[in-house]
Amino acid sequence: MAGKKSTIIGKAQKKIDGIELVTGRARFTADLRFPQMVYGYARRAGIPAGKIKRIDKEHALGIPGVLDVITASDLPGPNLIGILPPFDQPLLAEEEVRYAGESIALVVAETRDIAKRASLSIVAEIEPLEPVLTVDEALKPEARKIHPHGNITFSRKLIKGDVEKGFERADIVVENTYETSFQEHAYLETEAVCVVPHGDGRITVYASCQSPFHIRGHIAVNLNVPASRVKVIQAYTGGSFGGKDDVATEMGCLAAIAAIRLNRAVMIVHDREESIIGSNLRHASRIHYKTGATKEGKIIAREVKILLDGGAYASESPFVTMKTLIHAAGPYNIENVFVESTAVYTNKTYCGAFRGFGVPQVTFASESQMDELASELEMDPLELRLKNALKAGDATATGQVFRKSVGLVKTIQVIDGKRKHVQSKKLQDEERWLYGTGFSCLLQGISNGAEGIDVVGASVQVSQDGSVLVGVGLSDMGQGSRTVFAQVAAEVLGVSMERVTVKQVDTESVHDSGPTIASRSTTVGGMAVLKAAQEVKNSLVKMAALMFNTREEKVVLKDGFASLYEDDSARIPLDKVATAAYWNGFPLMNLAFSKAPDANYDHQTHQGDIYIAYNFGTHMMRIRIDRYTGKVEVLKHIAAHDLGKAINPQGVEGQVEGASLMGFGLAHLEEVLYDRGIIQNPNFADYAVPGIKERLPTETVIIEDYNPTGPFGAKGIGEPPVAGAAAAFANAVADATGIRFLRLPITREVILEALRGKQ
């Protein structure tokens, strides 16, 4: 069906929403206007820990233009949000403040400016508590408990084989401790929601978000209304990367409560500073690795202890903890693995989902270990990786065996084939420049896996004119999933891309499909579209067979026609077939589900089948470093990923380039700096995200090792390159300088100081 002749699947497609996005016609949440709309602005705690004694609204309420000031005691519901158990996060802090960016009140006013100014005039008496600021402090037995259940958010172990025995047999053991810092999502569009109340008790929520159904659920609970009265529309979303989940529920609930109280539309849009201090970050980590190998370079034991600084609330810490656990062994076939991963509460901005979900942190550490081991063994770094690479039929760290679609070896070989050419090129001024090349291998699980349920519902509807309407409950935040869904439907129904429309996600017209995370849109969502489209295709084929007076097997849908296999020229336009199908009562719409197989998984040892597939990759980065300033230039970056099948190769390139750049930011530029619990650089002047000049010279290499669990063999690619690029960068710097850097980011400053220390 996909066939070799497809003009849609595997062909570069423009994003179906590209034109409106680049011309500025797309309207983002903050662009929306409704009659009598008013603005909300949150007052933040300003100190990392304390007991709320009193919040005095009177002065703020007296400011002309101020309509309402809402504090925890005004909330109609349980004042609770959170993506996963333990649900521990309030909308507005009630008794205790747990991080400086935490909201303690919401001011609603006629203009955003008035609301903001008024929020600062609220008198908040907060009795400071000694903040718990580091993981080490939090874990001390005598530490103050940030939550009643203590300072450990979530902790698990993965046990495969017997590491002790493994290390006994090892000829060589390398061991080190690595750290990574907090990272901010830094999407161009900050968080925004707008809630419009209707006279009949229903409300409509427009949100820049990635999980509209989460928002609906939380609003229903916190407003104490049936979820069916809450409609959430995902507006065009200018990036999310995991960041517009918890915070979008917080803002959505607050705006909804204000909208009901005032019976007016309420808009809340974050400043950049709020976006950094008041919404989740990537977990900072400290990771201890010990790797044992034979002198031939076969890794036989790996022991990893991971501590994640999760900040003040749980958010998605439990999932991130599990992801680090499962991925810590790397994409290698290792008999004995022990991993312990623990997320810890501190009085800092909470951490949660962020593209890669813990995998970039462990991959940086794991791949540093691989290079350290290679150098102990005096072995080529790629050869060592090849020797240990997972292959089809091998058991992963969780003991899961994939018979198909384990394309790691091919990604290593491609890089190996290209490296000579890249490494031989040197530029002038050798004295000044230190050259280096870094490699990394990685894997990233696709789908929610045993961490949670993974179901996507998709609808496909064909109109009498033969055009196609697709609805999927997953959000496109820029990654291009709408385009992929359109391609899948177009391919199955034999129509051109222009004939397919993909719905904006709104909770009244698509099925709840869970959050848009875990690189699952193409794989799980695409599969649901495929199924639904096939059902509708069956109707059309049935109808066409009647019209041709032939058997169904003889009919094919292509190029907007139903035609006969044997004779292309015998064909009926699809609109005629669709109209006839309608009049004959054949269903032209279908809602289909794609559900990952139930995981067979032991949550004590973390052994069993967890994901429906893994994306595998190998990265190479060639850099040079100015030994006098620490400046790094990336001369070449090659990212080879096995993604099963590239449905839209252009979309794949976009994802690989974008995710790699985020990994580069994590490894070289970005760091959220705290001083006594207060973020010191909540702006893009001092928090350095990559700029246009940092765009990497990335060459994307697509390896297609057919994945039976994805549509047309596809696997996700949205997250994996983050880890690959970050780890390859660190290894390249080590190669160039001869110094192993154990902490990310490795900035110009860090490099220069280390070079100076070496002299």
Partner: protein, 282 residues
């Protein structure tokens, strides 16, 4: 808030004296953020960008005059200005910021990391100001009193930046580093102006300024004195670097550490001196 567009300096001064809490605004790329954050709450904004006499780069008998309201992109594209100033302007922010932002705004905002501040100090620029009490001429190096603090009195306008003929000779350099390549705030910047005595191969005049290391951009007078009259051997340059590092005392802050600032300032100075030497030999 009132917003005025005067067309002459005199009119601007008049508007300012009539208001209780006025602020001049040029490109607004600094001021609008400061107003947003509540640093200033003026009741009157007086826009200087429609005043013809404050705009453009002109050659005069004295040298070159740059109107305070000249945009940074005009400075960056100039063919007559010394290269240190052109480079400094070119490395400010992004094209959007340079099209709006002005050299006068950069100077009057007096951020220690402002990228045209060290160039004008190295070029010995004279800043001409006007106020109801008359005209003043202030050497650039005396203009800055602290972060965001200048010698300007309330309601005084910076009119023009004058670079005298003597400083249009010789060669000049500007170096900057931030966390990333473009659109980044200086962690350190350095401007150098120098004239070589050709037949002798010695430094006849030199001025050096280092930015983003202290509350104000610093002129390195000891370094200048040390190198004046010296032949530019590698050794002399190295010793010059040592003098420079002893006379600047950088701070550690959220942008960079003291030691990194010193390392890079030393690198920049060494590099610029070597480039100057190569220039003069060419």
């Amino acid at each position: 808030m009132n917003y005025f567009f005067p067309s002459t300096v005199e009119e601007a001064l008049g508007l300012a004296s009539g208001a209780s809490n006025p602020k001049y605004i040029a490109g607004g790329t600094d001021l609008s953020l400061q107003i947003r954050d509540g640093v200033f709450s003026p009741d009157t904004l007086i826009d200087l960008t429609c005043i013809g006499e404050l705009k453009g780069i002109t050659e005069t008998g004295r040298g070159i005059s740059i109107g305070a309201a000249t945009t940074l992109s005009e400075v960056a594209d100039s063919e007559v200005l010394p290269s240190t100033l052109i480079r400094g302007a070119r490395l400010v922010g992004s094209p959007q910021i340079r099209s709006l932002g002005t050299i006068g705004g950069n100077i009057c905002n007096a951020s220690p990391c402002g990228d045209t501040l060290t160039p004008i100090i190295a070029l010995g620029a004279i800043l001409r100001t006007v106020s109801p009490s008359g005209l003043r001429e202030i050497p650039a190096e005396d203009f800055f009193l602290g972060p965001k603090k200048t010698i300007l009195k309330e309601r005084e306008i910076l009119k023009e930046v004058i670079i005298e003929k003597q400083f249009l000779r010789g060669s000049s350099f500007f170096k900057k580093i931030g966390r990333r390549e473009l659109q980044s705030i200086s962690q350190v910047n350095l401007a150098l102006w120098l004239v070589m005595d050709k037949p002798e191969g010695v430094v006849s005049r030199i001025r050096v300024a280092v930015g983003s290391c202290a509350p104000v951009p610093l002129r390195a007078v000891k370094t200048e004195a040390f190198l004046e009259g010296k032949k530019l051997s590698d050794d002399a340059i190295d010793r010059g670097v040592a003098v420079l590092l002893s006379e600047i005392s950088p701070v550690t802050d959220v942008r960079a550490s003291l030691s990194y600032r010193k390392l890079v300032a030393g690198t920049f100075f060494r590099e610029a001196m070597k480039e100057a030497r190569d220039d003069s030999e060419a």
